[in-house]
Symmetry: C2
Subunit: 166 residues, 2 copies
């Protein structure tokens, strides 16, 4: 991070919201807002290919997801390299995710079964300082930290009588 970085307090909440609207066959318009610590807006979309009944007008959700993971760990490595004085001449990362897909009655169920991240850092720093940079980046990576724990996702459904938990 450089000198233009916003001064952050010792502790803060980072909040993102995404409003999705179904359009076309399988396309979703995704309006994303970072609400805190300051507001920013991003327009994205997902779609599916013809085999899933879509028109391939945007990447599928899993492409957005693995891009988020890969971009997040890379961003932390770059940001923390500056803070830890580890010179970074080049950085390439390859992430792999596998899910198991099982047909069940008319639908299917799914479960993740492999996460691998290969990190290729070109640096003049000694090996142990590059290892320390990676360790630090893992702890600062919002998405890695999210995947490494069991999260509870709360769902609500709109009804004529108001929002109800489902």
């Amino acid at each position: 991070m450089n000198s233009k970085e916003v001064k952050m307090p010792a502790k803060a909440i980072v909040e993102f919201r995404c409003h999705g609207r179904a359009v076309g066959k399988m396309r979703n318009e995704l309006a994303v807002t970072m609400v805190r610590p300051f507001e920013e807006h991003f327009d994205l979309a997902s779609d599916e290919g013809a085999f899933h009944g879509g028109d391939a007008t945007a990447p599928p959700p899993l492409a957005l997801f693995i891009s988020g993971l890969t971009g997040c760990i890379m961003t932390q490595i770059r940001a923390f390299a500056k803070r830890l004085d580890v010179p970074l001449d080049d950085l390439k990362v390859e992430a792999r995710i596998e899910w198991l897909w099982v047909a069940k009655d008319k639908v299917y169920e799914t479960a993740p079964q492999l996460f691998e991240i290969d990190i290729d850092i070109d640096s003049s720093a000694p090996h142990d300082r590059v290892v320390a940079l990676i360790e630090t980046a893992k702890k600062g990576c919002f998405i890695e930290q999210t995947l490494a724990r069991k999260n509870t996702i709360r769902h609500r459904m709109k009804t004529p009588g108001g929002w109800v938990e489902v």
Copy 2:
């Protein structure tokens, strides 16, 4: 899903890879490949705003991440509505994620603390069938199922002697 859908076996592996390359100040070029069950390629990118030392040429990783989650649950709802014969006249979803951000020495650490998904389905089907559709979609949503469990992420680092675990 429609009649053009590829016939899937009873069980399959879905594999995605993302090759990230650091360019510019904070931009990452993200080349995504679905490797299995069939191959497809998508080019994405992430960046950061000026306050994080970036040029804002692409959405930040967390915007890609929440878009993936929102798009995934929406896609499952639409795909499974057809399979379960639940008419879907309109679908809107709002997802909210909060992370706690804590400064630590020269860097910071982070942890997720809230996941909420509000689902607004316009359907002529009875309430309990719409609830059943949502329950089924949760189990079929690759990203929800990933977030709901503690995942192990394996890291390797490139060294002159080859790849080593870190």
